[in-house]
Symmetry: C2
Subunit: 475 residues, 2 copies
């Protein structure tokens, strides 16, 4: 029997009728401008190095946000005065159509995209001349974009668009929520498949391939980021993406596998991490560590609602982590003193979560400076535009992803300070090291009254062990 | 039962002991230089647009050729005088190791790669100063590479390395042949899986995902190029990569599917095309067209051996195509007259084949100008460096890929000339149009006495129908 003949649901590519016009109006409102135009250039087809091998196309996220166009070489203009949107399509000459196929006609593009007019790229100059905008708002400073050839530089504004775009992208419209819900559900199922399929003797790379296949056959042919499939101690390496180790029972029969991966469909992605034992059964140490992380996550989930301050949530999980590490004896001493010294950072050294959307670390969560273009503030925004430092609001989609890691580099550094050694029970620490690392990450929607967990893969010890029991009989 | 529990062979990532030093010596010999150094910079990690999403890393092919290193941010120096090779590794600070993991140690790198010395990148200037090379041979003119900061521009030569590298890459060493044989075999099996699995009601995208999964689970987690999965009339669009159409029996119950795809492993790829009926049974018209293409291919395969002129092979397939189109009545008139007018180009308008290796359109097949850096010739070489226009030699790996297409744009153009219309039987042509297009492409090795066909997916009408019969019972 063909293994996958009956299981492909009707989630394949289809023409979306994405209401992107409301995104343009939203951005305009946030900018507070009544005249001028937005100009965006979409992503181009890229060849690898000095070859003719095309790289798989991915639209630039801001361009997708305003247009819904997932094809290369488009441009876009939105006129603030008239509210008319112009999609500027690449003109494909007859000779190229033989190779690339017939492009969409003007009528087809008007049906497919939420724009008012289609213009071909050789008419860009005439279009701009006809609109005669007072200002042209663009995302970046590169002068290689076609617009700089047809508009004098003093009309081009590189400050105002980006912060408004970021702000606009933070709160999701209903159809965006539905897209992310769908991709989070199907990615959850891919995580479930991996829980069922993982076995000693397999390689991390096979599990990555399986995850990508499970997403792709359910309609998500992209990943929102490079998957992390990390077994044993590699789970403590946060950006581990080698994914090439064999799962060897001899190395560690209690080995955990950490899988941080999420599919992407129509440029909208998700972000999910699950950690579970390769054998199907948590060791005592793994269960202890796992339940600490679960407790940290649940404490945050219980408090998710509009108005919740993210910084308070970050403090909350650190406090729980500190309590728990003292309870099990890895950290020794007075809780407030340990918190003040920041010793939990030896075990947990990343953010608690971030916005998710067109980018996995989505934009818009910054409290301050988003309308400030110049100076250090802007640099800071640019560097870490995905940090969340404002109260939660309904229709934000964020991750909640506490972790606890036995990372060699981190532990060596922290336990290397003579004056700090008294706070660590080094012998007990050694016993827990083989746990490697645990992260539990859900993508959730903030609602008017609380939250909806879009992630539906099991995560309690009991649920994971029950799921894995069928394919992992105890030896 | 888990569907893939037992089928993953032991082809996962492993430490290769690739003998790249012989590549350096080969390039040196082709350059005829006794002093100076080669300097290459490997590919960097790239982030998508203005995000922190990493793009899946792929090493630059020339860099892999000389080093076997498949990690970002390396550099390489080979000294012609001493024959000493230096791998310049990125120095990863302690703080980054927490996130990225421990990099290979010097000892591990020396074991893993066929190089003599490891140097960290902050020592590049001292290394170059110590060697004090008379010339530095580099691949390109960009001055952004670190070498331009430590060597005066008048010592940097951008002419000699590239043609020697291209020449060297044309003839494969035994271990390269073995790698390409392996990836061609496993890709052939992926084609076989698609033949079994294709059904009306599926989407091209699912079949692409299945192909990639079949490659990945057998160890080829990259594709050598964007797969083409083209049903019906899309098969006539040579660079069709949308792969998003549903296979609808109502559109065309005799529909053919053309799949042009090949996996890549350790940067070495392959290139295979198969065309077959979605129903499992060729229609009369499809069979006729298919067998013409098969005849064209077989005529070339029969003549493959060292010394064969590729241009003669190209003329041969065009002659066969012309004969056959006259025989079945689509073209009408005198064969020599039709050949002279080039009317077969209405149906077949691409090259017959190309070298395959680290790039799918691999380098090195050009006869003339390969040692010429300046002027038009160089431009020409750069533009079409994968054309084959020299006699075949043993250890070349090439494709043989004739085709026959009913491409709307092409046919409209050719039959649009009033003076050419008498040569086309337009009524009969109309009858064949639903065949869409057929291409049959094998990757083959030229041997001392002939060739070895590395491609092992079935391709006769009988073999394909027999394979598909089990999963495609006739209705």
């Amino acid at each position: 029997m063909p293994p996958h003949a009956t299981s492909f649901p009707s989630l394949g590519p289809s023409k979306l009728s994405i209401k992107t016009k409301q995104h343009c109006l939203n951005v305009k409102q946030l900018m507070g401008q009544e005249s001028g135009i937005i100009y965006l250039r979409g992503a181009l087809n890229i060849l690898r190095d000095d070859t003719d091998v095309e790289i798989k196309f991915r639209q630039e996220s801001n361009f997708f946000y305003l247009t819904g166009v997932n094809e290369p070489d488009f441009q876009f203009v939105f006129d603030f005065a008239s509210h008319v949107s112009y999609l500027i399509a690449p003109f494909i000459p007859e000779t190229e159509r033989m190779w690339k196929g017939e492009p969409d006609s003007v009528e087809e593009m008007l049906q497919k995209y939420d724009v008012d007019q289609i213009v071909y790229d050789d008419d860009l100059a005439r279009l701009i001349e006809a609109i005669n905008p007072s200002s042209v708002f663009v995302l970046d400073t590169t002068d290689t974009t076609p617009i700089s050839k047809v508009v004098p530089m003093d009309k081009i504004d590189i400050c105002m668009l980006k912060p408004a775009m970021y702000e606009s992208r933070l709160l999701k419209f209903p159809w965006e929520i539905q897209l992310i819900r769908k991709v989070t559900h199907l990615s959850s199922h891919a995580h479930i498949t991996l829980m069922r399929e993982v076995q000693f003797g397999k390689n991390e790379s096979e599990l990555q391939a399986l995850f990508e296949w499970e997403c792709a056959r359910n309609g998500a042919s992209y990943q929102s980021y490079l998957p992390i499939v990390a077994s044993g101690k590699h789970a403590a390496t946060l950006h581990y993406t080698h994914n090439n180790k064999w799962l060897n029972r001899k190395d560690n029969s209690d080995m955990l596998l950490l899988v941080d991966a999420g599919g992407e469909k129509n440029c909208y992605g998700t972000d999910i991490t699950r950690t579970y034992p390769v054998s199907g059964k948590f060791s005592a140490e793994a269960k202890t560590i796992y339940n600490i992380v679960l407790k940290m996550q649940q404490a945050v989930l219980d408090r998710l609602r509009p108005g919740t301050l993210w910084t308070e949530m970050q403090n909350l999980v650190i406090r729980i982590l500190c309590q728990e590490l003292i309870r099990i004896g890895i950290l020794v001493g007075d809780q407030e003193e340990i918190l003040k010294l920041g010793l939990t950072r030896a075990f947990y050294f990343h953010g608690l979560g971030h916005s998710v959307g067109l980018d996995v670390h989505d934009v818009g969560g910054r409290k301050a400076g988003v309308f400030n273009c110049l100076g250090d503030e802007e640099d800071n925004v640019a560097r870490s535009h995905f940090l969340l430092d404002r109260p939660l609001e309904a229709n934000m989609i964020i991750t909640v992803e506490p972790g606890l890691y036995f990372n060699d580099v981190s532990l060596k550094a922290w336990t290397g300070f003579p004056e700090l050694q008294k706070y660590f029970n080094l012998e007990l620490l050694q016993k827990y090291r083989k746990v490697g690392g645990v992260r539990i990450e859900d993508t959730v929607l903030i609602t008017e009254n609380g939250y909806e967990n879009l992630t539906i893969a099991p995560k309690t010890v009991d649920d994971i062990e029950a799921l894995m029991a069928a394919t992992h009989p105890r030896n």
